[in-house]
Amino acid sequence: MVERNPVLTIVTHVVLAIGIAIVAFPLYITFVASTLTMEQVLEVPMRLLPGDQFWANYSQVLGAGSTRGSAAPVAPMMVNSLIMALVIAVGKIAISIISAFAIVYFRFPLRSFFFWMIFVTLMLPVEVRIIPTFKVVSDLGMLDSYAGLTLPLIASATATFLFRQFFMTVPDELVEAARIDGAGPMRFFIDVLLPLSATSIAALFVIQFIYGWNQYLWPLLITNDESMYTAVIGIKRMIVGGDALTEWHLVMATAMLAMLPPALVVLLMQKWFVKGLVDTEK
């Protein structure tokens, strides 16, 4: 709408502000709770202004962890989460871009069969294949290891499909020009396709990083050792039965910490992310 009516402008801003308030309020509550003492958190109603326990709570969570439930410090969990998210994001991108390259640019027997096989796995999310996957990973002795955490989640039909779609929009003449210039397939891949995919790679990295960071069910199943917990699992393990027993201020502090890296990744890569979703340099 290109209407320039001051009343409408005010109305739209008010609506937007209400929307933001609705979305942001739980976040704010989480933050406030993470700066209170245990007693203050349990007051009803809980106060809405931040308390003075910010440093105390966050340093306790990072360095020592909760005193109830699982008492592991959160800092190493953050590192675990980071490793898991990075390995999954990078691994997914590396494998899918190579598979897409093979599917689009090489003629081999059963090419479309393989493509459809990859495509069909889209219909099988982690949750559906979790029991057999768990069995395989446990038989391979990969429980409580980074390999176990990341490998089963690396294969990605979505990313392969996305790269395939992108490669199909690269003009054939570019491939032919490269052939005439004497570039072999790998040379073409590295010199032409990779730079052209940069924005798609950035967009996928953001999506996959968040996907990896937020994994819940899989790490919950295969990590028993506290040193292998991810931040998300850490939160879960801090919550013990009964409201009064859980140190909610610490849980909230951990939640805030767990939210931070994905938010940072999105903020830092926002420009590339949007570019990768909307335009391609061709």
């Binding site: 003009p171 003449e173 570019l174 032919e176 020009a177 490269a178 052939r179 005439i180 210039d181 004497g182 570039a183 040379r187 010199d191 032409v192 730079p195 052209l196 940069a198 340099e281 061709k282």
Partner: protein, 356 residues
């Protein structure tokens, strides 16, 4: 520097009875340094032929020699060719310099020499100030020149052009045509140029190869093709407006066309069914020549320098091109049409080939 020979070159897609043959045995000998234009309507196989020379399409049958070497099984990069594509196919993420240098980098040419060669090409094409730019920051004409620059720096034996002018506007196209001619004069590199535009073909070609439906219809200089078209297809394709082609019944003295009976020149080659061709610019008012045809004017188009007069002849329109300074006939007028015998073309209606 190289000659090219095409020997019974065939292209077929698919196999067995379902195979779709698109090039039906083209034979042509192209001399060193010649500028050859391959021209024909869309889908006639001209681009396919060029791409077979480039090595981008497999050759189903026959042989292609470049510089005396059979290249059927060679990769494009080994054929000593350079190609300019219709959409230029510049690498979007590389600067103009890198676009031109890419092939040389792969060929492991020393950096200093790459720089000299690119600078030289940039100078010829006036790209010096643009070397650091990305293709998307260039205009269509500049991109086109970069594409040519990329071809030049390779110092190939053969240049291949795949409709390189069709994405330019009319003015730029005329200008680039002249530049290509100049470039060819300076570098003297054997060139194959594909186009569907007969003006480009006539102006650029030293010899032109006219194709239709996968067959070579004629291979000759622009003058030969214009003056002695080898078939009704060439007659109708080259020349604008196209040649009038009239199917009629001859009995030695008269040709009857759609109920009209026209006196035939004495040189009429034979009796029976015939196709007669006469270019609009070779028909004129007046009673000179072997016979005067009286036709009724239907439409007149004024183009400034000339007028196109469409006259009714049976169920077809006969086009006459007259000088724009002559008074315009009005629709409905009956005009006498003078026909010069030496300007008539005769074709066999069965084979469409030229008789005389």
């Amino acid at each position: 520097m190289a000659s090219i020979s095409l020997r019974n070159v065939i292209k077929r897609y698919g196999r067995g009875p379902k195979a779709n043959q698109v090039v039906h045995g083209v034979d042509a000998e192209i001399g060193d340094g010649e500028f050859i234009v391959i021209v024909g309507p869309s889908g006639c196989g001209k681009s396919t032929l060029l791409r077979m020379v480039a090595g981008l399409e497999e050759i189903t049958g026959g042989e292609i020699h470049i510089g005396g070497r059979i290249v059927n099984r060679l990769e494009p990069s080994e054929r000593d060719i350079a190609m300019v594509f219709q959409n230029y196919a510049l690498y979007p993420h590389m600067s103009v310099f890198d676009n031109m240098a890419y092939g040389l980098k792969i060929a492991k040419v020393p950096l200093a020499e790459i720089k000299t060669r690119v600078d030289k090409a940039a100078k010829i094409l006036e790209l010096g100030a643009l070397l650091e730019r990305r293709p998307r920051e260039l205009s269509g004409g500049q991109r086109q020149r970069v594409a040519m620059g990329r071809a030049i720096v390779r110092q190939p034996a053969v240049f291949l052009f795949d409709e390189p002018l069709s994405n330019l506007d009319a003015k730029l196209r005329a200008q680039t045509r002249l530049e290509i001619q100049k470039l060819h004069r300076e570098l003297g590199i054997t060139s194959l140029f594909v186009t569907h535009d007969q003006v480009e073909a006539m102006t650029l070609a030293q010899r032109m190869l006219v194709m239709n439906a996968g067959r070579m219809e004629q291979f000759g200089t622009p003058e030969e093709v214009y003056q002695r078209p080898a078939s009704t297809f060439v007659a109708g394709f080259i020349g604008s407006p196209p040649m009038n082609l009239l199917r009629g019944q001859a009995d030695g003295a008269r040709l009857s066309i759609g109920g009209h009976s026209l006196p035939l020149p004495a040189a009429a080659p034979r009796n029976g069914e015939l196709i007669l061709g006469l270019r609009p610019e070779h028909a004129g008012w007046g009673a000179d020549g072997p016979g005067t045809w009286e036709l009724q004017v239907e439409v007149v188009e004024t183009l400034g320098a000339e007028r196109l007069v469409y006259c009714r002849l049976g169920d077809t329109l006969f086009t006459v091109r007259i000088d724009g300074m002559l008074p315009a006939p009005r629709p409905g007028d009956r005009v006498p049409l003078g026909v010069a015998a030496e300007r008539l073309h005769w074709f066999d209606p069965g084979t469409s080939q030229r008789i005389a």
